[in-house]
């Protein structure tokens, strides 16, 4: 038996050792940093403090920044749900066979292309004199100039575009799993399409909707590249604040504390939603 234990340990050690070195120890180090007064480089003595976590009290503008991030998260998640759920249901229910596979692949494909490249693409569509502006003036030459770039809507458009495939994917998995017999039974009892949609398809797609919403909300509140490129001066979010602490201001302890505050929010969201999901759908 002892020999088999050693084999198992030897198989596992490289992967988990690597994860420890590159993910778990760094997270531990950052937690440690978040309680320091200043980064412990050189001969500076260690001074512990809880001040970094009181940043939201000491610096009221951070509350505005956090609120902007939450608004961006809510708008993006909401719009993805609104656009993605019907698309997922259409994919699962209105297509089949080969064309379903091709359409599925077409939806997943952009999600594997570089996120940065896609955000960059939007700058060319949304800027003044960009594609949108040009197209509008072909139709209505006297219309005012459309310059959406560097605005709140630009950030939302870019993020919805980036995260929509997640929502379509998770909702599709739920919608495709609905047993055709339920729908046939409802139809044979005289239910019309809107009724079937509201009473069967929508409720049974809900788990996909919820997991899609989590998969989107969590990374969106931590996004920094999209708000920077598409939002310009408007795009000050928790993500860009944290990035600034590490890249510009070099206040690593504050950046670490802000990161951990955000991580706590993420964990709470995961905890609450997984409990809600299992309470509601675990019985099935």
């Amino acid at each position: 038996m002892a020999r088999r234990d050693w084999t198992t340990a030897a198989l596992l050690a490289p992967a988990y050792g690597w994860l420890a070195l590159a993910v778990f120890l760094p997270l531990g180090a950052m937690l440690f940093f978040s309680f320091l007064k200043a980064a412990p480089f050189g001969t500076r003595p260690l001074q512990f403090t809880f001040d970094n976590y009181l940043a939201f009290v000491r610096r009221p503008y951070l509350i505005d920044v956090a609120w902007t991030s939450i608004q961006i998260g809510l708008w993006t998640t909401g719009l993805c749900a609104l656009v993605g759920l019907p698309a997922a249901i259409a994919l699962a229910r209105a297509t089949r066979g080969r064309s379903q596979q091709v359409l599925f692949l077409l939806i997943v494909l952009p999600f594997w292309t570089n996120g940065l490249v896609r955000v960059f693409s939007w700058t060319m569509v949304l800027r003044e004199g960009g594609v949108l502006d040009y197209a509008l003036h072909l139709v209505a030459p006297s219309a005012p100039a459309v310059a959406l770039l560097y605005s709140f809507p630009a950030i939302i458009i870019g993020l919805v575009h980036a995260y929509l495939p997640y929502m379509i994917l998770t909702c599709y998995l739920s919608a495709a799993a609905i047993d055709d017999a339920y729908i046939e039974a409802a139809r044979s009892l005289g239910a019309r399409t809107p009724m079937i949609f509201a009473k069967i398809v929508l409720p049974l797609s809900l788990p996909g909707l919820i997991s899609g919403a989590i998969l989107i909300f969590v990374p969106v509140i931590g996004s920094f590249m999209e708000p920077r490129i598409l939002g310009g001066r408007v795009g000050v979010t928790m993500g860009t604040m944290i990035e600034d602490q590490f890249v510009q201001a070099f206040n690593w302890p504050l950046g670490a504390a802000l990161s951990f505050t955000m991580l706590a929010v993420v964990l709470i969201i995961f905890g609450v939603s997984s409990r809600a999901l299992s309470a509601r759908f675990g019985a099935q």
Binding site: L21, S121, M124, G129, G222
Partner: protein
């Protein structure tokens, strides 16, 4: 209703592809200021040939992605084998530990790596990028190969071993051949994860040593030319080709066969 659904679906797909199409079209536009209408030209592709920073960033990206793919697949396959085929205490905890690298926002993981690597003297640069990318890819590899292993019968290996084969020989002659598509899919996935990674690379690269996405980001912020479109177009082609091969290998999207 069905026709409405299909139209809506196609409109959604059009939304997903619109900006990408614009980006590609602008790569072939002669104007440096992205003016419309488009005048076809290949000058931006030609000028890539003399753009040293972009070339070195591309080389770094390909190098790191290849190394990540090899290392993460080897290391991840071993872990998947132990998690699927061995019984031991703490197995479910180890499975759970695969999730944080996937679920925690990259911004947090990236800054944590920066802090830790700087503090311990590992520093930044190619080696740091490689350490970070492999760590991100490992959980995906374990999950993909683990799923492949689940569909294979474990008793064949045991039969081979009871007939006198060594465990290593049993693995290479019995388990590996039918597992090969999963291993290949995992390797491609790891390659794609590394090639597309921006956030972590951003924190771990140095001004001299960066990857293509980091170089694109700094060009976008400094003021850019359609050269960025040209290189992005090439990049897009490579990523898309990888995904198509991956889909073919893992039969992605073919779950509901309605014949």
């Amino acid at each position: 209703m069905i026709a409405l659904g299909r139209t809506y679906l196609l409109a959604t797909i059009a939304f997903l592809y619109l900006p990408i199409a614009v980006m590609v079209a602008m790569a072939f536009n002669d104007s440096a200021l992205y003016t419309l209408p488009i005048e076809p030209s290949l000058r931006w592709f030609a000028s890539l040939a003399v753009n040293a920073p972009l070339q070195s960033a591309t080389r770094n990206s390909l190098l790191i992605a290849s190394a990540t793919s090899v290392i993460a697949t080897a290391v991840g396959a071993m872990a998947a084998l132990a998690l699927e085929r061995k019984r031991f205490r703490g197995r479910s905890l180890l499975r759970l530990l695969l999730l944080p690298p996937i679920a925690i926002p990259w911004l947090i993981i990236g800054t944590a790596m920066l802090v830790f690597f700087f503090w311990t003297g590992i520093g930044r640069g190619i080696h740091a990028l490689l350490i970070g990318h492999v760590a991100l890819a490992i959980p995906y590899v374990v999950l993909i190969i683990g799923a492949g292993l689940q569909t294979l019968r474990a008793d064949l290996e045991e039969a081979a071993m009871s007939l006198g084969s060594t465990p290593i020989h049993a693995f290479f002659s019995i388990t590996l051949p039918p597992l090969l598509p999963s291993v290949l899919a995992a390797a491609l996935f790891a390659f794609a994860v590394s090639l597309d990674q921006f956030v972590i690379s951003y924190f771990l690269s140095t001004p001299g040593v960066s990857t293509l996405p980091v170089e694109i980001y700094s060009s976008i912020r400094k003021g850019f030319t359609p050269e960025i479109n040209a290189i992005s177009t090439i990049f897009l082609g490579v990523s898309s080709a990888l995904v198509l091969v991956f889909a073919q290998l893992s039969h992605l999207g073919g779950k509901r066969d309605s014949r």
